[in-house]
Symmetry: none
């Protein structure tokens, strides 16, 4: 199946934002065995959107569009496609109710134009939006399939993963369905993982093995075409077994969830609580944790002990550990351990995790950029310290340090399970 | 001048790499006053490269292409353009010498295909490559200008900055250079800002007024074409004055810097320190602050007092403020104030900022999603509380709450200046 991806948005043409959607969709299409021949970006201009849409519609079997589904008069994608295919627009009831409820819950008046987000095209299949308001759609018109998704990646990606893939598999009936399985890794970098699986990746044919890294985590997707899920699982079992025998201890999930979600779910199921003490990650670790909704009973909070003053006053890290000629210093296993102990003493948490290190751009205490100590511990248990030397620039080191802390915590929680 | 950007490379169509070149070139074009109407990505396929090139050549005055200038047989951009315009290819001597010298210096034999990187099209102007081997070119053919640059950003960007801009200014002789000015806003949403400046934006012609929002901040870019910077400044002065008279209190910078950078720079210049207390932002505020390198003498750290337990134990927020039938609760001006007071009492900071609110996805304490209280205070000074009702979903509310806290802090710091 030949596909094209069209992103709509003047902000893309002005370079204000990066077209990460095109990359994501290109990767997903590659995994589904769909060949992408062109990607196009067009502004919020109806004539040019139509030009791009007609051209893609003539050349491709499948046209995936992102953007232009929002509430403003600039958001024109559905109008243009409806016009081009001679179909009517109507309001999707469930989406209207959701929009109205959101405004009500915030005590706000709903401006009329918001209803545009509930627009549906006659004969199209709705693609629900669980993380936003604008509904998407899949439409088969004459020989071409059109898939419309919103522009914000936080809405587009879950919609693709949860609903659009299913719609796509329905329209790809002439081909054997592709089955895939995800393995999510933590505590291991992409290059190390690829190195350890090099021979497997090199000689892959069926199933395919595709490793990729994003947001501080590494994923491997196994994929194969098969008549049934059972057949696919059987085909993938051997290679998965081999991967697990080499790097199994780093696999924390078999679906696309971040490690913080897995850790928090495990703690919540046991009614246990967590606190954090962060130095070099500067709040990023707790930000990741609080990005998971509905877990406020697990995460009590934490201390961003960026300075030695706060490490001491808020977490009882001894001054003689932090400062002085022979002191281990702020970036040391001793400090990472004292930070965990401080949390366990000063709060009523079950688990505590600490991070201290050098995020750069300059060395600190004469220690190299990327040196990070992670500490994890639990009530009445030992405290474990892990030393890491992380590659990358400041933001990457912060992210990898935070994810590594979550990995160490996950191992401890699992071992207590 | 109407332009299109074409990126050539199968690795882009497969999603293996992100098309950052398109964003960079789009931004540069916007700054030069060149209107980009389409961006296209096409694979390493001569027929489809030609299709994209012909189409862009017919629609646009300027076609900028990246990629496909390398040594392999997959690198076809120059061949296709030469063929399309009926021009011959020849080898650029200086580039050939450079390629040969590189191979000699590494004691390697130069494979014949490397000479492809020295290919030039008859009648084109060479665009030198100081950081790589493949030479670029600028060609005026019939009514269209073509600019060919290599794909690797480390080569493409310096080539654009050092040579291609100069070539562009040579072909844009009929146009005056564009001058622009940025105004960065905090503490005001994009829609409110647009509402307050609606008439100005509506009737804009010259200078142009372009508002846009990203990462929780709003920017307005004023731009005008003028013979000199002085003339441009004069043309923009009146409209800037009018904007300042309406929303001037929200302007925190005249260049593209985030507000946390401005606040931290102000505090560092006075040798003052800062701490944070976060509930609904969950660490995001301190993460933003610690994303600015080189300011660790300013930011002492903070408390992520996500639970009432930590609000009380770490920040001395009275239990009777937090819990009980008649208590104001965790999301209240009283709690925001007590959080600031706790920081000022428990640490030796000059400034303290707090955030408490409802990030969603569900209401909390019967209070609506998006309700946020920000507190700011300084040693020996009053504590100021701001109530906000922020729109959006969880992640957006967190980000806007954090940016609003930085805005309130900036106002306080400025007033103390």
């Amino acid at each position: 199946m030949k596909a094209e991806i069209i992103a709509v948005g003047t902000e893309l043409l002005l370079g204000q934002i990066l077209n990460t959607n095109a990359q994501y969709l290109a990767q997903e299409c590659a995994l589904l065995g769909i060949d992408v021949y062109f990607q196009t970006v067009v502004g919020d201009n109806p004539a040019r959107i139509r030009e791009a849409l007609e051209q893609a519609g003539n050349r491709a079997d499948l046209v995936i569009m992102t953007g232009g589904l929002g509430p403003t008069l600039d958001d024109l994608t559905k109008d243009v496609l409806a016009d081009m295919t001679g179909r009517k627009l109507y309001l999707d009831e469930a989406t209207m109710v959701k929009i109205q409820e959101l405004f009500n819950s915030q005590g706000l008046h709903m401006v009329e134009s918001n209803s545009r987000q509930a627009n549906m095209i006659e004969g199209a299949e709705p693609i629900p939006n669980d993380t936003g308001l604008a509904i998407g759609l899949g439409l088969v018109h004459e020989e071409t399939r059109y898939l419309l998704l919103p522009g914000p990646p936080k809405e587009m990606k879950p919609m693709f993963e949860r609903y659009a893939k299913h719609w796509l598999s329905g329209i790809m009936t002439d081909e054997l369905p592709l089955h895939s399985k995800m393995l999510k890794f933590a505590g291991i970098g992409e290059s190390t993982l690829e190195h350890k699986l090099f021979d497997l990746i090199e000689k892959q044919t069926d199933p395919t093995i595709a490793p990729y890294a994003k947001e501080g985590e590494v994923t491997i997707r196994l994929a194969t075409k098969a008549h049934s899920e059972e057949e696919a699982w059987r085909k993938m079992a051997e290679i998965e077994e081999e991967i697990r025998s080499r790097v199994g201890e780093h696999i924390y999930a078999q679906e696309d969830v971040p490690i913080e979600e897995v850790v928090l779910a495990a703690l919540q199921s046991r009614n246990q609580t967590l606190t954090t003490a962060e130095s070099c990650t500067g709040g990023l670790l707790s930000d990741l944790i609080t990005s998971v909704p509905g877990r406020s009973s697990v995460f009590l909070g934490g201390v961003v002990s960026y300075s030695n003053e706060l490490k001491h006053s808020m977490l009882n890290v001894p001054v003689e550990t932090l400062e002085g000629e022979d002191a281990p210093g702020a970036v040391s296993p001793e400090t990472a351990e004292a930070m965990v102990r401080g949390l366990l003493e000063k709060t009523d948490c079950d688990y505590a995790v600490s991070v201290t290190g050098v995020a750069g751009p300059t060395m600190s205490e004469g220690k190299p950029i990327g040196l990070v100590y992670v500490g994890v511990g639990c009530k009445n248990g030992d405290i474990h310290i892990r030393r890491l030397q992380l590659p990358g620039l400041r933001e990457t080191i912060k992210l990898r340090a935070a994810k590594s802390a979550l990995y160490e915590l996950w191992k401890l929680v699992k071992s207590d399970g």
